[in-house]
Symmetry: C2
Subunit: 298 residues, 2 copies
């Protein structure tokens, strides 16, 4: 293109996205926090909501049991739906903390509110969606990525809060948000645990009394594995511990030490690693994880 | 939730997307037209640009040869890249028509401008992406949907103009835009043809002199088929014509009469149908189509 002075109204050639975005951007200041849930709220969810209250003028809590993230043999039909109790819990937290802030509960009345008839589109987040939960629940993260995208489009939050218990889910959502150029900050919040260490989950209520006791193997093993990883100089001994643990108890679906961004299995200690575990009790898959930050000496 | 008066700052329960969107929407008036191209502009592209000049204050022409929409054995490497000529053509059209309007050419310098390292996400548009071109070019429409989505996110147009020659592409983009809640109008503009009837395409330049002559079979057959469909009362005779045409000339990749929204093959006359054809000459796949609007008598 001939060199023209950069006057308004004259054609310009732009060659980088950043430059274009600078040109195009219209800044609207807003502070909207989103907590996306499937309802049946427990203290883990409420901790996210209260974090959002602290940081935002407006907090939106969505309650939607998303059919697309359940496999055909999973618990979509029996997943607990407790809208009135959820409203009461949110109301109580709001009254206690922040009656000067705005709280909106968005609870789509029908599935068609989110997925209109003839809806065809799926968002997939490549390899990170195929590991671990992706292997055991094919299509799960496509359902998660698609619904979270749609909620983001509707809500337009500035920040969205997710529980770190579903660590892989948070990583998938972070990647999707970056890749799809959504201007939303994704915040992973600490796991909230019961007094005995079991991570809170709506699915814990499926457990029998006996199962509830057995379930403690999950957090206890993660803690023990972390201790071994930190104290043991020989990585093979640590790997052998994970392998032996799984061999000796078929309730383990997986137990692995992974890169905390890509979730790829690690073959040696690394500064940012995570232990991921799924332990199946009474037919219920319990998820837990432990982030392990190490200072590696050379 | 207890019945509360609807005052600002009080929690509200919203149960429909529309209601939420009304609450959330911040209206920004803008009029930005987008013409997304792979460059090597011809009169077909220029007709889209001039339509955008007519209707918008700002026109953005993107020039980006998108690797994700080419199969591994396709012509990505040899696809014609002619940025200076493209700029001159756009400049000429702009000077002739609308020096009071704003034209921006967005020509990403590298592939990484659009797909940064570690990009993982794919947008797929279900069944409509699997038919016709989707069958012959697996992954093609995933590449198209993903790049168009990204361009939409960067450009944020109010309206985007596409050529009707790539009819299925336009339908895929329309569905993606609706499903992903993008507030962008998709406009399909009429096919621009050479004096002898061949639809303009950057790939026509791959044709030999002999191939260029043979290529006229494509528009001529579509016209003849349309004539038969309109005049013939017996749909089987029309179907037999399509079948016989394909049998007698193996240059046809497909030739079909379909629903103009779902692109599903039709087994009878319908008010909104389309003839789709792909004819392969000198190793080049030539696409064309003909919309047929009928008044069906009962």
């Amino acid at each position: 293109m001939p060199q023209l002075p950069l006057l308004p109204r004259l054609p310009q050639l732009i060659e980088t996205k950043e430059e274009f975005l600078r040109w195009r951007q219209s800044l609207i200041s807003h502070s909207v926090g989103l907590v996306a849930t499937m309802g049946n709220l427990h203290a883990g969810h409420i901790s996210l909501v209260e974090k959002s209250f602290q940081e935002n003028e407006h907090t939106i809590v969505t309650i939607f049991v998303n059919p697309k993230q359940f496999g055909p043999k999973e618990d979509f039909a029996k997943y607990p739906r407790t809208l009135s109790e959820d409203e009461e819990k949110l109301m109580a937290s709001w009254k206690r903390l922040t009656p000067s802030k705005n709280l909106i509960i968005f609870a789509p009345k029908t599935t068609e509110e989110i997925y209109p008839p003839k809806f065809l589109t799926t968002i997939s987040v490549g390899k990170i969606s195929k590991l671990w939960e992706g292997t055991h629940r094919p299509g799960h993260f496509e359902g998660v990525a698609t619904v979270v995208y749609l909620l983001f489009q509707i809500i337009k939050p500035s920040i969205a809060y997710f529980g770190a218990k579903d660590f892989q889910q948070v990583q998938v959502i972070k990647k999707m948000t970056t890749d799809l150029l959504l201007d939303i900050k994704i915040m992973a919040c600490p796991i909230v645990r019961d007094h005995d260490g079991l991570a809170l989950s709506s699915r814990n209520q499926y457990l029998t009394t006996e199962g509830r006791k057995q379930s403690l193997v999950l957090p206890q093993t993660l803690n023990l594995a972390a201790k071994i990883l930190i104290e043991e100089d020989n990585f093979e001994n640590f790997s052998a511990f994970l392998e032996k643990t799984k061999e000796n108890d078929d309730r383990w679906e997986y137990l692995a030490y992974c890169d905390s961004e890509t979730l790829i299995n690690l073959k040696q200690k690394q500064p940012n690693g995570i232990l991921l575990g799924v332990y199946k009790v009474d037919g219920t898959r319990l998820l837990d994880n432990l982030l392990i930050t190490l200072t590696i000496k050379n």
